[in-house]
Amino acid sequence: MLFFSLFKTLVNHEITVELKNDLQIRGILKSVDQFMNIKLENVTTVEEDKFPHLTAVRDLFIRGSVVRYVHLPPGAVDTTLLEDATRREALSHSGKAIK
């Protein structure tokens, strides 16, 4: 659930979601769940001329299984904390969870 924990902190930040069909959508992350289903607002397509049919779309919901990459805002990610969270998760998975 590490990624979910991370994505929760990115709510209301701008992210770019790259889908498995090469579509890249940039928008404000409004909601995310444990399946990485994503709700975006104020979306724009990175390649507007290639996907003009998305010009009129403002809000959308992305099923987590079609996401290839999510570009995170670097300033909003605390890498040190993320490393620690990773260690904690690894520890708890190996049965040596930190109390």
Binding site: M1, S5, D33, L81, R88, E89, L91, S92
Partner: protein, 849 residues
């Protein structure tokens, strides 16, 4: 009994039929708190159920999609006959008003035939009126097509069979009412009627008829005595014609056709009397001159005409009364007689707005509050965790940091209820009770239940060949199941061992004496003994050559750090309680363990001549980053030990080893620059902090140790190396200026400093400078610190050495923009000011003031 193949508990018990039991984990049962006393609060029970069961209305909202489908279909059919055929086939479907022009293509002949009949009976009348009528007929048919209701086969048959008889009946009815009495049925029209003013391309609103009812007011119903069958007929039409329905207002009839609304109303009236047309028109509605009957022969026989009319024109439908296709009852549409008619333009505007809304958001309010709560509960159940500091660590700490940095930022209700307060261990949810909170308590119980009844990770059903692996959100189903073979010797045994067992009683045994050079001073001796003090006899240390072992050791440091930091969070309030003593003991044990994991206690000189393990670890960025965190927990003595170890091996540090500039115009590789940057930001600050408070003897000892064990000339040529020397000399000079230094100490210091100065000066001060394109401020700082401690003749030698550099810097500064130039000069002045000099871009003078 089983539900989806899952065996049920309590077989034969009445309980087994409970809904909750149909879940294999019985979560539902757990959620059922203590009766349903607060269900209303939780799920908003006060909310009216008014539209929850309005399936008709909800379906109608999306039916435009079906309509559009129909439009597309019909556009493809070019011929009249085909259209009629389709019309029969697709009789259930509706055509939106946008179909009007198309519909007239096939609808017109039908109407014309009828009109012919009328004409035959009544003879010609005013041409204009006739024209109007025909127009109205066309539109009427279109409208009716839009409003066509689904007919079963039986109904169609009945329609066919009973049509003539009905026509007769209609005639009788019509005779029974006054001519203007055709208006009454319109009293039943839903408020949406009157939309025909919309452009043809407009789809019908398709909303629930009730939605359109409120803003509309209806003319009083003059004749309730109308035949019920007729009423049904009209109402069915009306329901389906919402988009194009019309208000019929008798007073509008006389108005000009130029206004669409008026025309519409006239058409409406025409629609009211489809049957009448077959038998005879009231005088008000003109029959048509023969010149307008282009499409159909004027003498079309009645029979075939009606056959044709049946499928196309619902107005011909005279079958048994039945409720509309949506089960819509005419009753609620009736209006109270004292309602007034709003202005038409406002009606149109409201209707247009409603239509826009329902078009843009056709699924508004599809879910009730209860539905949403249910979904939310399912989601929460997945996400809620017993131990947020382990499973949701990142979010918890991140939001805690953010909340602290931005306390005014409001949390949304969801975060308040679950995400935030859940994470605050031991803190009770404050005041604001809401439904979500109650929900969250239920979820908490559910989680507890899951914890008490752990799910099996795989199911082996009887007779099956394989087993079904189950995953959860916390332990996803693994694509690969790699198990450690028991017979494999644990490669990390040596490093793993210390993490397992924490010795609660840190025994400090005197151990292998640290080999130092013979010139060791008392100060160094005191430091090196502090190292040996912490050396644990027989302790196994990772070798610097074992890269994986080093990485593993760093991770072990982090693991202990995390435990220490977690322990800090659980510090008992009362310093005197037993609880605190226990906690203190655990924490001290962790600190001891941390000390050991750092490998710092390894002999200062490795037997095989390899790098000291701690120094090897320090070459990794993540170990550098751990140092400030380590310093928070260790004692001053331990800090000194780390500092001593670093000074002793300063030449081996990656940042020093790789910090030399090879050529004049070349910068360091990006990797080295990054490492130096990280070192300067993480390792240096705590060490500098320690040095700035260190005693005279320590400074002297460290400098001497460094010079004894390293190539000082090489060390001071690097940024990190010169930084250490700068800080040490500055601190020593500061203590000197305080004056509380014994003559013996001063003597020692002078000896050490002369040694440093000798080494630096011998190697040409100019060689200290990095290439021109690199920031050289650290060199000027270093020279400044040397000059500060140096005697006046030393200073003169230094200025002579770097004279070219000084003037070169001034000339460079002259060519640069003011701010950059000023920066260069400031760096230069760091050095010159020490000697009472000051430089500008053009000259060097005495320092003023």
């Amino acid at each position: 009994m089983s539900f989806f193949g899952i065996a049920q508990p309590n077989q034969g018990n009445v309980q087994e039929y409970e809904f909750d039991d149909t879940y294999d984990d019985n979560l539902g049962g757990q959620l059922d708190e203590s009766g349903d006393a607060f269900n209303d609060e939780t799920f908003g029970g006060e909310a009216s159920v008014g539209r929850d069961f309005d399936f008709h209305g909800e379906t109608a909202k999306i039916s435009y999609a079906i309509d559009e489908d129909q439009v597309a279909y019909e556009r493809r059919a070019p011929q009249h006959a085909q259209m009629q055929h389709q019309q029969q086939q697709h009789q259930q479907r509706q055509a939106p008003p946008s179909l009007q022009p198309m519909a007239s293509l096939w609808g017109a002949p039908d109407q014309k035939e009828r009109i012919m009949g009328d004409e035959a009976q009544h003879g010609g009348q005013q041409a204009q009126q006739a024209h109007l009528q025909q127009q109205q007929h066309y539109q009427h048919v279109a409208a009716q097509q839009g409003g066509q209701q689904p007919l079963s086969l039986e109904q169609i048959e009945a329609q066919l069979m009973g049509r003539q008889a009905q026509a007769q009946g209609q005639q009788q009815q019509q005779h029974g009412v006054p001519p203007q009495g055709h208006a009454p049925p319109q009293g039943h029209f839903p408020p949406g009627y009157g939309y025909q003013g919309f452009p043809p391309g407009y789809p019908p609103p398709q909303g629930h008829p009730m939605q359109y009812q409120q803003p509309w007011q209806f003319p009083p119903l003059p004749n309730h005595d109308l035949n019920m069958q007729m009423m049904m007929h009209y109402q069915q039409q009306q329901q389906q014609q919402q988009g194009q329905g019309q208000f019929q207002q008798p007073q509008f009839q006389g108005q000009s056709q130029g206004q669409p609304q008026v025309q519409v109303q006239q058409q409406q009236q025409q629609q009211q009397q489809p049957q009448a047309q077959t038998q005879g028109q009231p005088p008000a509605v003109a029959s048509q001159p023969a010149s307008q009957q282009q499409a159909a022969p004027p003498t079309a026989p009645l029979g075939p005409k009606e056959d044709k009319a049946i499928p196309t024109a619902p107005q011909g439908f005279q079958g048994p009364p039945h409720s509309g296709p949506y089960g819509y009852q005419p009753g609620p549409v009736h209006v109270s007689p004292n309602h007034t008619i709003p202005p038409m333009d406002e009606n149109a505007r409201l209707a247009k707005r409603n239509e826009m809304i329902s078009k843009r958001k056709p699924h508004n309010n599809l879910m009730t509050g209860g539905d949403k709560d249910f979904v939310l509960r399912v989601q929460l159940q997945q996400m809620v965790t017993e131990d947020p500091y382990n499973e949701d660590f990142y979010y918890q700490v991140h939001s805690a940091i953010n909340v602290r940095s931005n306390p005014n930022q409001p949390l949304d209700a969801f975060a308040r209820t679950y995400l935030y307060q859940r994470g605050q261990r031991g803190r009770r949810a404050r005041g604001n009770e809401n439904g979500l909170q109650r929900l969250q308590q239920q979820v908490h119980k559910a989680v507890q239940f899951v914890k008490d009844h752990p799910k099996k990770d795989s199911i082996i059903s009887q007779g099956a060949l394989g087993k079904i692996h189950l995953g959860s959100n916390k332990g996803p189903r693994q694509a690969l199941d790699l198990r450690k073979r028991d017979d494999t010797p644990d490669a990390d045994n040596s490093t793993e061992a210390p993490t397992e067992g924490v010795s609660a009683t840190p025994e400090l045994r005197s151990a292998t004496p640290v080999a130092t050079t013979t010139t060791t001073t008392d100060a160094i001796r005191s430091i090196t003994t502090s190292i040996s003090k912490f050396n644990l006899q027989g302790g196994s240390y990772v070798s610097a050559n074992d890269k994986r072992g080093i990485l593993r050791a760093i991770e072990n440091v982090y693991i202990v750090l995390l435990r220490l930091e977690a322990a800090e969070r659980t510090q008992p309030e009362d310093d005197l309680s037993d609880e605190f003593q226990v906690w203190k003991g655990e924490k001290d044990a962790l600190v001891t363990q941390l000390w050991r994991e750092l490998q710092i206690t390894a002999p200062i000189d490795q037997a095989d001549g390899s790098l000291h393990p701690f120094i090897a670890m320090l070459s990794h960025a993540k170990c550098k980053k751990a140092i400030p965190r380590v310093f928070r927990h260790i004692s001053a003595e331990q800090r000194l030990t780390i500092l001593t170890m670093i000074m002793a091996h300063i030449g081996d540090l990656d940042v020093v080893k790789n910090g030399h500039y090879s050529g004049e115009e070349s910068n360091l590789p990006a990797k080295s620059r990054e490492a130096i940057e990280v070192f300067s930001q993480t390792v240096l600050p705590p060490l500098v902090q320690y040095i700035s408070e260190a005693e005279y003897g320590v400074i002297v000892g460290l400098l001497e140790l460094m010079m004894d064990r390293n190539d000082t000339a090489a060390v001071v040529k690097t940024k990190v190396g010169s930084a250490f020397v700068t800080v040490l000399i500055s601190r020593a000079e500061l203590i000197n200026q305080e004056g509380s230094v014994s003559a013996e100490d001063e003597e020692t210091w002078n000896r050490i400093f002369n040694r440093v100065f000798g080494i630096v000066q011998r190697n040409n001060l100019n060689s200290l400078f990095p290439p021109r394109n690199v920031d050289d401020s650290y060199v000027w700082q270093f020279l400044a610190s040397i000059a500060l401690a140096a005697k006046i003749d030393h200073q003169r030698v230094m200025v002579d050495d770097v004279r070219d550099k000084i003037f070169g810097t001034m000339n460079e500064a002259k060519a640069l923009p003011p701010d950059l130039s000023q920066q260069k000069i400031n760096n230069l002045n760091l050095f010159l000011n020490v000697m009472g000099l000051n430089a500008t871009t053009s000259e060097i003078g005495e320092l003023q003031g």
